[in-house]
């Protein structure tokens, strides 16, 4: 079982050496990657997924348990310890969902008898993340953005079931984001989330800050931030409620935020 993954720094877009030269992530850690659009967040997790060895535009190198990963990881998906959920919001594959998941399960597992149950569990997981039902007979290309992302997350968690999961911008997915995090955190893995979302960032053990193609900081979530996480969650829940209200054609009233305002007043006194 994999215990640790190491990212050795490369260079930024302007060829300057990466300020954070080494990052070690251990089993069970949840890490966020933050930074402006174009700062290299997607590139960073792609480097991990590709087991970069100085052969990508960033010059980064990836070690697993301190060693260069064996070539079989890329040759045989059943050995690959990494699942990557990309930012893609549509599939290009023209297969029906069921056939696709069956094939993928057949590749990722060594136990052929499990294929059908893995497919069903994956569909079930996906349907907990999106309101639009994902069924086995739809063609992959017909899925909406939300359905696509829900299926990608479910596939990575249930079918890939790898010790390392990389997830690119879950908040843009059009899915039940908090539900996704709850479900994901039931699995002990290394999770790396690319995110702009303070709530997700505060759920993480640490965050990697990116700028101009480089990791510029590694910030561990401190005690003060952890305390603050509760307040951020409430703000976020309140906004989510408002969002749901307008989506359903309702009017927004002070009533919607009263609970939140009461909390804030209470906290200010304390």
């Amino acid at each position: 079982m994999i215990q640790q993954i190491t990212i050795l720094g490369g260079h930024g877009k302007d060829s300057t050496p990466e300020p954070v030269a080494r990052i070690d992530l251990s089993m069970g850690q949840v890490i966020s990657i933050v930074g402006p659009t174009g700062s290299g967040k997607t590139t960073f997790i792609n480097d991990i997924e590709l087991f970069a060895n100085g052969d990508t535009p960033t010059g980064r190198r990836i070690l697993i348990d301190g060693k260069t990963p064996p070539a079989q990881y890329r040759e045989d998906p059943s050995l690959n310890p990494i699942a990557l959920i990309t930012q893609h919001t549509n599939f290009l594959s023209d297969l029906p969902v069921g056939e696709f998941l069956r094939t993928h399960a057949g590749i990722r597992t060594n136990d052929g008898g499990m294929v059908s149950s893995l497919m069903e569990k994956t569909l079930d997981f996906a349907n907990q993340l999106t309101g639009e039902p994902v069924i086995a007979s739809i063609r992959m290309t017909e899925l909406s953005g939300g359905q696509t992302r829900a299926l990608l997350i479910a596939d990575a968690t249930i079918i890939c079931n790898t010790p390392i999961v990389l997830l690119d911008e879950v908040e843009n997915a059009g899915i039940h984001r908090t539900r996704a995090l709850e479900l994901l955190r039931q699995y002990k893995k290394i999770f790396v989330f690319v995110t702009h979302d303070p709530r997700i960032a505060l759920l993480s053990d640490a965050r990697i800050v990116m700028q101009n193609g480089c990791v510029t900081q590694f910030i561990e979530t401190d005690a003060a931030e952890r305390l603050f996480a509760g307040a951020v969650t409430r703000i976020d829940d309140t906004l989510t409620k408002l969002r749901e209200r307008i989506r359903m054609g309702g009017r927004m009233t002070m009533e919607d935020v009263r609970e939140h305002a009461a909390f804030t007043a209470m906290e200010a006194k304390a």
Partner: protein
Amino acid sequence: MKLAICAGPATTGKTSVLRHLTRRLINNGLHPAFLKIDVQFADEDEVFAREFEIPARKIYSGELCPDHCSVLILGDALQWAQKADADVLLVETAGLCLRCAPYVDGGLGLMVMEATSGMNLPRKVGPMLSLADIAVVTKIDLVSQAEREVFRARIIEAAPGVRVREVNALYGIGMDPLVDHILNTPDIPEQLVLRGNPPVGTCTICVGKKEIGWQSHFGVVRALNNQNFYRGE
């Protein structure tokens, strides 16, 4: 002289892959030459000559299938490359006719496919894939990891002996193993032989006879209700 022949459907990334390979081969001290075989238009020769200052040329197959054309001209091309002091000849061919494959014994056969093409493509391309040494899957940046893995499985299912290499040919990611394959390819033998069986006979359609109906054609032909039969002149 080493030989690598790169085939694949239009716009899959053959030129992009070969450009990355050329740069890396030059960095390894080799002297590549480049040949493009296409039906009626190609500009890759100019690209390679300009970008790498290596011997580069093209040939139009016109009314012949590009792979048939390759059989006829490859001997001359190797002599040309040798005279130009090259030690590896890279051939890019359009691979339009899915009945033929351009690879030769003793040379490396690369088939380029894009990850974005349908999941059934590996089942459709026939000998162009099954006779290759390596299937190079390009445009992996455009699909999810899951789709990439299923596509790879479809290739292996259609062509069990072929190695699959996934690349991003925009940024040159995944190219190093391909370079190693070329470096490990031995020099070509004296007598070159086409790998696998070419399609039956010499087909008059391939050479541009357009009339519909087997009655207008010679060689091995077939009618709707028969097996192939030979029709001499």
